[in-house]
């Protein structure tokens, strides 16, 4: 555990990508199995301990530490896990046994809920402050050490002198502690087999287009199509197995039996999952929400919110890997494939254009349901895993904005743990504010400090980590679209809200009214 703790601790402070890769490689070299495998699982977000919750940690600390001293310390440190880790009474002698990461993970998995507190207490007693901090971060989820799952996998790949895409390819067939993966990376074993069936293949993703990039690009090199506002999915069907994968690689097929039922082919295709209205056009994103995250799907839901995949690309066809082919060729194959009727699937049409201006005009005119913007794809681009810069661009349509009033602020996480950095904002309805959304990004550090100060000075109520503030601070909130929502008190839900500007100048009374948002419902 100590080696893993030191790794996390170093990663927290390290800014550079290469330095982070170096730190992870050093850890993989020195840590044995299964520790390094569980470390990789932790870094890729693959560990979950439902029996260990922050409240448990707070209780443990309350039993060991004077409450006045704890309160003063928490106020100073700003982060629960860190406060407990630092304040936990140190034993006079080093512990006889310091638990290793693998031991901790395996014990947590096997221990019933009422046994977790005892385990945790013993571990906290035998680790040092950095070890305790890492343990508490690990079990409460969200390490927040500035390492994405992708970067962690890249670290394994580079450390073993392999290609990151090779790992992505097999990743979803693997389980922690990934002993086979490490053995392969070290050259001691063959690559873990890709199950020849309906396995996940890493998606190819687009980078955002900066409009100034366009000048250097030749329209003739690119194909354009709409970027549909649904959920990017991969339908994989082979040898009797059918699966529907989200971008994370999670299998979401359970919620969409209608799609699986229609996947009677032998192929892997890439498309956008949508719910369609009776006229065949995409319904609002909100309808799709109704289908997501449901464990059981009722016949009524299948009828009211029929699912559909609008297909962008084809990765495999009857066992043949099409990914090395240029986009134009894959597209031609895909069009031929659609010569036969494909229930619940249709082809995302290409948009003819000759100049960037012409395309920009198309983009600006598109305000109908289900369109988020445009995709530009180089006609010669092979299907690569991840987000290479250059072959594919997404060109989102301009955001809509509303002036909303700050209502509640909450302490952030990680780097922002001592600042009020998560905000709930509202619009006026009658004489009162109703919350319409939450956002936490879009600030410089300096703005964050200013808002934090304002929040502390204008608090009218406190509930745990949340402060209610008097209506006095206006945010210009940008968002992609508005949808009617029965789950929100306001009746509206914003898609991708983010705070575009702080309107220190604007009196709260002049912020927007709820009706302004209702008028934008798509």
């Amino acid at each position: 555990m100590m080696a893993f703790a030191r790794l996390l601790d170093s990663l927290v402070y390290t800014g550079g990508r290469n330095a982070k890769l170096r730190l992870m490689a050093d850890y993989f070299t020195h840590a044995p199995d299964p520790d390094r495998g569980y470390a990789l699982a932790a870094l890729t977000g693959g560990l979950d301990f439902p029996n260990a919750k922050p409240a448990l940690i707070r209780d443990l600390a309350a039993r060991r530490v004077d409450p006045v001293l704890f309160a003063m310390s928490y106020d100073y440190v700003g982060d629960l896990a860190e406060t407990v880790a630092l304040i936990w009474p140190e034993r006079p002698q080093p512990a006889a046994h310091v638990p290793e990461l693998g031991e901790i993970v395996e014990a947590l998995r096997l221990t019933p809920k009422d046994g977790v507190a005892g385990l945790l207490e013993g571990w906290l007693d035998s680790l040092d402050a950095t070890g305790r901090w890492a343990l508490l971060k690990l079990i409460t989820g969200g390490l927040r050490v500035g390492v994405s799952a992708r970067l962690a996998k890249t670290a394994v790949a580079e450390w073993g002198g392999r290609d990151a895409a090779e790992i992505e390819e097999v990743w979803h067939g693997l389980k922690p502690p990934y002993a086979g993966l490490f053995a392969w990376a070290e050259g001691l074993a063959d690559r873990p087999a890709v199950e020849d069936g309906a396995t996940f293949r890493p998606f190819m993703l687009a980078t955002p287009l900066e409009e100034r990039d366009l000048a250097g690009l030749d329209p003739a090199d690119f194909a354009a199509e709409w970027k549909w506002d649904g959920i990017r999915v991969q339908v994989a069907a082979r040898g009797g197995t059918r699966r529907l994968f989200a971008r994370s690689g999670d299998d979401v097929g359970g919620a969409f039996p209608d799609i699986l039922e229609a996947a009677t082919f032998d192929a892997v295709i890439d498309g956008e999952l949508l719910v369609v209205a009776p006229d065949g056009e995409p319904a609002s994103f909100n309808h799709l929400q109704q289908r997501l995250n449901r464990k059981t799907v009722t016949p009524k839901m299948l009828r009211d919110y029929p699912a559909h995949v609008r297909v962008y690309d084809m990765l495999f066809c009857e066992g043949e890997d099409l990914r090395p082919l240029p986009f134009a060729e894959r597209r031609a194959r895909l069009e031929r494939w659609f010569a036969r009727p494909r229930p619940r699937l249709d082809l995302s049409p290409l948009l003819p254009f000759e100049s960037w201006d012409q395309l920009a005009a198309l983009r600006d005119a598109a305000r109908q349901n289900g369109i988020e913007g445009l995709m530009l794809k180089r006609k010669d681009s092979p299907y690569l895993s991840g987000r290479p810069k250059g072959p594919w661009f997404k060109w989102k349509r301009d955001a809509l904005t509303v002036d909303a009033v700050l209502m509640y602020a909450q302490r952030g996480h990680g780097k922002r743990s001592s600042y009020y950095s998560d905000y709930t904002f509202g619009a006026w309805s009658g004489g009162a504010l109703v919350p319409v959304g939450k956002a936490y990004f879009g600030f410089t550090d300096e703005e964050l400090l200013q808002i934090d100060r304002w929040v502390r000075a204008n608090t009218v109520n406190r509930f745990g980590p949340v402060r209610e503030v008097r209506p006095g601070l206006v945010f210009e909130v940008a968002f992609d679209s508005v949808h009617a929502s029965g789950r929100h008190k306001s009746g509206v839900a914003l898609r991708f809200p983010r705070i575009a500007r702080i309107r220190w100048d604007k009196p709260a009374a002049e912020a927007d009214r709820l009706e302004a948002l209702e008028a934008l419902i798509s």
Partner: protein, 333 residues
């Protein structure tokens, strides 16, 4: 007799009334006793100063020499008026002292800044039983518990090995921390030249004159970026983000300070390698020291006073926070 009748806070700082002198005053006074050479304790402009000989030498080197300096070795007593004054080692930096005052059968000890960890550059803290203990509380919260300094140095050396093409730029306060970190590196077997910022040279020379050997030091401003690859460069904390640091080869920025214990503090300083090495007592050591000196009365100054006052109260000690204005948050911590 009530101690407050003869030891009290005045606008110039803590004043011993029957002796007619101040201790670490922050404004110029006629007579001062100075605990140690850090600038918030050893201000310039006093007429007469009583301090240990190294502290007087440090004051002179910093341009804060008084008109008249009187050196007093540890353990010796002098009478000033009706007050007996003795200096006891504080373990903080070279020459640092606690001021032991006796007047009409009552003993008060003003600790100045102190630490309890062994430090190869100065004498260890000596607990002096007393009726009133005036303690610092820079790290007066239970979250501050300094790890073993050898482990911190080992982390620095591990990082040096891991990034051989970069240099390690370590922020150290010029007086005390700098020389201690050098000695710790030497003790860990690091015998290469250590590169130092110009602002550290004078104090290093002074320490060597007082018998603290530091091994080979080189000025960091001369060598090329190429020569500095894989090397350790020490600089005052203020120079870490300076233009000066830009010419170093992709430095890993480290900072040696007790504040580095709290992640947010380390990140606010933009530090990549926080080293928790402090010249102040940590929380456990503050509590232990209070027990050891056994004073029924405690004045707490210099930092997070409230938590220590709370704990002293639980031990049945009459404790209060003494808000002395002149001290900044300790950079040197």
């Amino acid at each position: 007799m009530d101690i407050e009748n003869w030891l009290r806070v005045t606008p110039q700082g803590l004043c011993c009334v029957p002796g007619g002198f101040h201790i670490d005053p922050w404004q110029p006074v006629a007579r001062a006793v100075v605990t140690h050479g850090h600038s918030d304790h050893a201000r310039a402009g006093h007429a007469a100063v009583l301090a240990t000989p190294p502290t007087l030498a440090i004051m002179a080197a910093r341009g804060a020499a008084p008109e008249r300096g009187q050196g007093l070795d540890y353990g010796r007593s002098v009478r000033i008026g009706d007050v007996s004054v003795r200096l006891a080692p504080a373990g903080h930096v070279l020459g640092s002292a606690q001021v032991v005052l006796e007047y009409e059968g009552t003993r008060a000890v003003v600790s100045g800044d102190y630490k309890r960890r062994p430090d190869p550059t100065c004498l260890p803290f000596e607990p002096v039983p007393c009726d009133l203990f005036v303690t610092e509380a820079t790290f007066g919260l239970p979250v501050f518990r300094h790890p073993d300094d050898a482990d911190e140095i080992a982390r620095l050396l591990h990082s040096v090995a891991l990034f051989p093409e970069r240099c390690h730029l370590v922020g150290v306060y010029a007086l005390g921390k700098c020389q201690r970190v050098i000695r710790l590196l030497r003790a860990a077997g690091y015998d290469q030249p250590i590169y130092v910022h110009g602002g550290l040279v004078e104090m290093c020379r002074l320490y060597e004159e007082w018998g603290v050997a530091l091994g080979e030091l080189r000025l960091a401003t001369g060598p090329s970026a190429d020569e500095l690859k894989g090397q350790i460069v020490l600089a005052p904390p203020s120079a870490l983000a300076d233009r000066w640091a830009r010419r170093l080869p992709d430095p890993v920025t480290a900072l040696a300070s007790g504040w580095m214990r709290v992640r947010l503090r380390a990140r606010q300083r933009g530090v990549e390698l926080p080293l928790v090495i402090s010249d102040h007592a940590d929380w456990d050591e503050l509590c232990r020291t209070i027990d050891e000196v056994g004073a029924p009365e405690l004045w707490v100054t210099h930092g997070n006073e409230d938590a220590l006052v709370h704990v002293a109260g639980q031990k049945g000690i009459a404790a209060r926070a003494l808000y002395l204005e002149g001290y900044e948050e300790e950079e040197a911590a």
